[in-house]
Structures are given as structure tokens and as C-alpha cells.
Symmetry: C2
Subunit: 152 residues, 2 copies
């Protein structure tokens, strides 16, 4: 990686800085994990995560503002509010699982439990990898930057 180097000062050339504007803070990912686990109410986020209520409130608003969560009245009790993942929020699952798998591989002494399995075959999901357009697994050394204007 690196023949054409990214211009790291020019904004708008890479999706990472704007992604970090939304998710570049520890609680955002932990709230997202809770949402993927089916948590929808403020009280449950609060008790499950052990996060201060003012911080939780701020982070939920932020995720709603960025379209990661949607704030809707609860179907059974209109006085209550639910925070549900949008399609944009669901699309963060590969990034979250890649981080989780990295944490499992490098920081845990015992294997994570429970494990995430495919409902069809009940086998653990595969490690998240970088792949070429034709599906081959790639590593860092196989990658290069290319200017869009350059013919491929």
C-alpha cells in the first residue's frame, strides 16, 4: 500500500474521518452493540451499559442525528420511545465485528462466549477479511492506492 499516497490533509478524499466523526468514540460502538443485541429503550441501554445517563442521552441523540439509530414511539406504549437501528446503522456490523474479532484474537485470554454463529449451519462466522473483486483474500501487501482518473 502506498504507491499513490493518500492526501491525509485533504478532506473529502477518504471515508474514514467522517466515519470517525460518527463512531470515533468508545460509547458509540458499545451502544451500537447493545442495539444489535435487541436493546431499544433508554432504561435498558442505561442498565446494560452502566453509562452515565447524561452521556447516554448525548450519544443516543448523536447517533439519531447521524441516522445510525431511529427514534420512534413504542408501539404498545406511545409515551415510551424506542431507538432502533436504521439500514445505515446495520451497515456498521462488519466494522464492529472486525473490531470485535481483533479484540478476541489479541486481548482475550479465554475464547469469547457466546459465539456468533450462522443460523443456517450453527457454525461460527468466518474471520472478516479484505477481498479482491473476485473474492480472493488480500493482505496489506496486496493493496495499492490508485487515482480514479488513472486507467485500471
Amino acid at each position: 500500500m502506498g504507491r499513490v499516497q493518500e492526501d491525509m490533509k485533504r478532506s473529502g478524499s477518504c471515508g474514514l474521518p467522517p466515519a470517525l466523526e460518527v463512531m470515533g468514540e468508545r460509547w458509540s460502538f458499545l451502544i451500537l452493540r447493545a442495539a444489535f443485541n435487541g436493546i431499544v429503550h433508554f432504561e435498558n441501554f442505561s442498565s446494560e451499559l452502566g453509562i452515565a445517563r447524561n452521556i447516554l442521552s448525548d450519544r443516543l441523540s448523536r447517533l439519531v442525528r447521524h441516522g445510525v439509530l431511529q427514534r420512534t414511539p413504542c408501539e404498545h406504549d406511545r409515551r415510551k420511545v424506542e431507538y432502533r437501528l436504521t439500514e445505515k446503522g446495520c451497515d456498521l456490523l462488519p466494522a464492529m465485528l472486525a473490531l470485535r474479532q481483533w479484540g478476541e484474537k489479541y486481548t482475550m485470554r479465554t475464547p469469547a462466549n457466546p459465539v456468533l454463529v450462522d443460523t443456517r449451519d450453527r457454525r461460527p462466522i468466518a474471520p472478516i477479511r479484505i477481498r479482491a473483486a473476485d473474492g480472493r483474500e488480500l493482505c496489506w501487501r496486496d493493496l495499492a492506492w490508485q487515482d480514479r482518473s488513472e486507467p485500471s
Copy 2:
């Protein structure tokens, strides 16, 4: 996802919180991105990222302490120091690219440039996906938690 719910209060059961201990802060990922772009010297991280020197110093030490970067004397000038990615650091590439692709998809008005290509065929890499053990693409609805002690 969610038949067996994760216990979000029990530490040591999931790799995400420890991963966020290391990477759950905006600058960590931006420093990592610079490292993947071939930046190795403090001065270059500083000028490329426009980050305050004390924060850069703190974040580099932190990444070294967690084994993501390795601090070594420069080969050509032993008074200078280089920060290079370790294998553990390189293994963060799928998580970083998944976040980048998400940012590209949802936050950018124009396509990112330059693009990351496979050096072999010069075609852009594939979107990072969750896959089953046999390679099938999976989405959130295909996933379930399973206790390790349960037979698969």
C-alpha cells in the same frame, strides 16, 4: 441476532470492549491510517495529521504500549525513531477499511479518491462483508449468539 443475548456487563466475554480500549478514540484510527500509508516518523505524523504534538505523543505511546506499533531506532540515523506497524497493528486493516467503506457509502457526496485496488488486477477491492464458515455472505438476520458449551 439475539437468541442468546450477550451479557454486556460481564467483562471478558466479548472482544469489543478491549478493542475499544485500544482503538476507541478518533486519533488512534487516523494515526493507524497514516502508518498504513507509510508514515513512520513523529514529525511526519504531526504534519500529515495536524494533531497537537502532546496528543500525538500520548497516542503513539499508547499504540506502542498496546503492541499496535513498534518503536525502533531508524536504520540510517540512530538518533531518530520509527513507529512501524506490528502484525497486531496490521490485523486492524479489515476493521479500518470496513469503517472507511461505511464512511464512503454514507457520508461522502463524491466517490473517495484515491481508491484502494488489488495490485494483481488493479480493480477496487470488494466491500467488506460478514461471511459464514463456507464463504456465504451473511447479514444481521442470519446471525445468532450461541453458547460455547452448546453442541452446534
